[in-house]
Symmetry: C2
Subunit: 513 residues, 2 copies
């Protein structure tokens, strides 16, 4: 089957007609795929029963959500579920001003989206506040599931048949539930991450009693051979933990290192995971923040067509996942706004079903306001084409910011003791400090020198993130001094001021003035 | 100190001046109380270290959230946190149409609330989208914490000094985290609930390996003497679980029974909990849905002033909690809309701190849209007075609906075999079926008869909730047949139609026609 296109998606919607999804309607991805699982000639996902925790296996469907299935009968009156009447909701309609972007501008124009309380009944709309603001399925509204399914098929086209999706309240929620699903301290479980990893991910595992094993990295991120060696030579007694059966990886614009795995790197990692029966959590919030290079003449890179743009995106683990061994986390936080507190997971049907069971008793899915407003924006206002246009313009914005920071590095940092790679995706730059050039490196530890630099910058009004904060195994001796700098938050002028202060602090501390 | 009033709250705000709470600003209740903990002459809460789980005790503050404290320094430039610039948020402003209610009408008029992206900078506003839609503290925005603190002080005025609050993504989230905080299967923990309880609560405990112990109820809900007896005679070996140290109770308009504990009942339950060192989770989503009686002439009850209204509210466990042994769950779901996916917990500082640590790695708090829109409504548009007016009108609406259902019961149900109490709060009515009047009660079990009635109603187009769905201990033999009916969802006409069908089904099954 050829790669799915936006035209295919549009044609499918035309053929199916208006969506009918009332309050708490059940939905899954198979209802919205171009080809449903059964019609697909792709292989089925493997089963992960041995990887699941006792807790996850013990989750039964919520009784009242099951009872909601009876609501499908036409004309049924329910006195069963305690769903408040929408007449008593304290919101009659919501609106938002949103940007219309084009290939040439992030804010081509401003437009308004609006959702009323009874738009389904009065305007034959697909979604309204009577549905969005009532109780719903923990998996998310049918309206959002449809859009996400189409998006996943368009961008990743997973190579197995029975993939599914559901919403999260952001990737923090997604990772937390994935960990509870896969790792159990009573089983002595451990998991693997990049040796420097996202602090919240590491902090999620600690109270759960899950040991973290850091895998060495290079400029392309996680090194598959290093992972293979650890797994091949795993000694349960020495490690005090079962051989890891889960890899957590941020393949694109990794936090904190800014590294992006190449396609061949990803295939190699996937192969090692197959070899050792390792399940992969692919956390990819920076996927769409590709930072392209300027032309040799210093001009911004040329605009891409939708097809070219899609072709320019990295090879996700999901897109090479023939086994269904990947649970992929996507998030609107970095591409619309963090406050949506909304994202989605994609994995095999088995895993998504377990995930939803957890959501039913943990939070019942994302805010109805978030679902309503994001749906109106990405589905009705933008559509898939408009969404991709927005992302391309966003990339240009972040690329400009990265270049501002790179210029400041070139101008203000002492290259004798600081080195860095130019990040090709994400929000972060990772600077390595040659701490052994410090005049007192014989008596100061790397940790001391890191703290000295951090404090000196603070005194000069600049807050940086210490590399040591991100260590997967903080008990190991710190071998290198790194700092993580973001170009996402401060404006261009402040970035310049801050990098200059950082450079001055380094020169002073290392006696270069 | 006299009871706090809305005038006191207004005066405090006047004295303090405009709130200054930028992106990810830290906030807790003590910043907004009429009297902060240290100035209070109330006792301090007890410590609950022995009740906390190993998991909860192992939670450390999130590193990046801690680093955010440095942001307080004036003029500091942060290159540390990966917070996207608000310039790239895809939402420039949001609006909602909301009802203005008065003491005499739920929808006196419609009004509009609006929040722009830079209102703080451009209009000296307290809150804007640049803050609400960026990453924030998991406890919730300072703006919402302030309103909730004032509300809790006004309505419950907890009798100990160091109480605190934080937001939840609804009470499902609140209960889930409270359970993880207090109950540990590795310790053999169990918890107590009403013998018929909220299914989601029961379903939350099962996969966590927490045993549920049901406490007998009467028309006033949980019977304290029954709880005392169970705790006094607890036999670890026989029960296969540690003596319960947690009580989960829904004191007002309990689901499924509709029962409401009297003030003296609550004091007695609190006393038994003190005697056995039991911690209380007070889940009170129906607190404000008091259903008052009509006058003897059949007229709606008279409107109350704000003071009278507050005085008419039940005695919450929080309001008699001298020990700080109550974690109270409040929710906007039943009083604004479920889709807000937002509520709050109130408990001692120690417990709220543990709760927030969990939120930091589980979901990072509620949606920014929810926080922005609800803040604009309950703080800026309504204020505390307007909020209480709304609640009083909401009570009148639900009271009318309850009365419609009660009339239908009187008209259509065979009293020979069905009995019920008129609920004084909440959304539910609990009907007891004299199953032993069934012509085949000698060969059919109560479970069979319940299923027969359920199916017969379904065939007649009516969905009811079976009493057996709500059993705290489903392994015990079902002794009684109950059905739960809600008057919150369907309209008056449908309620009549459904109750008539239910009555007909009962008459047919029990051979009363």
């Amino acid at each position: 089957m050829k790669d799915p296109t936006i035209a295919d998606i549009d044609a499918r919607r035309q053929a199916v007609g208006q969506m009918m999804a009332p309050t708490a309607a059940y939905a899954d991805s198979d209802m919205f795929k171009l080809q449903c699982s059964r019609a697909s000639n792709k292989p089925a996902a493997r089963r992960w029963d041995n990887h699941l925790t006792a807790e996850s296996l013990a989750r039964a469907p919520g009784l009242l959500k099951v009872a909601a299935r009876f609501l499908k009968r036409p004309g049924i009156i329910s006195l069963a579920g305690g769903l408040p009447t929408p007449d008593y909701f304290s919101f009659r309609s919501i609106s938002a001003k949103v940007p219309i972007s084009s290939q040439s501008s992030l804010l081509e124009a401003e437009s308004t989206i609006t959702m009323g309380i009874h738009d389904i009944a009065s305007e034959n709309a697909a979604f309204d506040l009577s549905v969005a603001l009532n109780y719903g399925q923990a998996a998310g509204s049918a309206q959002m599931i449809r859009w996400i399914t189409e998006h996943v098929e368009l961008v990743h086209n997973p190579p197995y048949a029975d993939w599914d999706t559901c919403l999260t309240t952001g990737s923090t929620d997604g990772l937390y539930k994935a960990l509870r699903m896969l790792c159990d301290k009573n089983r002595g479980d451990s998991w693997m991450t990049e040796e420097y990893s996202y602090t919240t991910a590491l902090e999620t595992a600690i109270p759960l009693g899950i040991r973290t094993v850091g895998i060495n990295m290079d400029a392309e991120g996680l090194i598959p051979e290093a992972m293979d060696e650890i797994l091949t030579n795993w000694d349960v007694a020495k490690r005090g933990a079962r051989k890891p059966h889960v890899l957590y990886t941020v393949p694109t614009g990794q936090s904190p290192t800014g590294s992006t795995q190449s396609a061949s790197r990803r295939r190699a990692i996937y192969g090692i995971c197959q070899k050792h029966d390792v399940y992969i959590i692919e956390d990819d919030p920076y996927y769409f923040l590709q930072l392209r290079s300027r032309t040799s003449g210093g001009q911004p890179p040329p605009k891409l067509s939708v097809g070219e743009f899609l072709a320019s995106m990295p090879t996700s683990f999901l897109s090479i996942d023939t086994d269904g061994r990947v649970l992929r986390l996507d998030s609107f936080s970095k591409i619309l706004a963090p406050g949506t507190r909304m994202g989605w997971v994609t994995a095999s049907e088995q895993m998504i079903e377990r995930f939803i069971r957890h959501s039913e008793t943990a939070n019942q899915g994302p805010s109805g306001f978030s679902q309503a407003i994001v749906y109106k924006l990405v589905d009705e206002k933008w559509g898939h084409t408009g969404f991709l246009n927005w992302l391309q313009r966003l990339q240009a914005g972040y690329t400009d910011r990265r270049d501002v920071m790179m210029s400041a590095f070139d101008k203000f940092l002492p290259k004798l003791i600081v080195s860095w790679d130019v990040p090709s995706a994400g929000m972060f730059c990772w600077l390595k400090i040659k701490y052994n050039c410090h005049p007192n490196s014989n008596i100061y530890s790397p940790l001391d020198i890191e703290e000295e630099i951090f404090s000196a910058c603070l005194k000069r009004g600049v807050l940086l993130a210490k590399g040591s904060w991100f260590r997967a195994e903080p008990d190991l001796l710190l071998q290198d001094v790194f700092f993580r700098l973001t170009f996402a938050a401060a404006n261009a002028e402040s970035i310049e001021v801050a990098v200059r202060a950082f450079g001055t602090a380094l020169r002073t501390i290392f006696g270069l003035v």
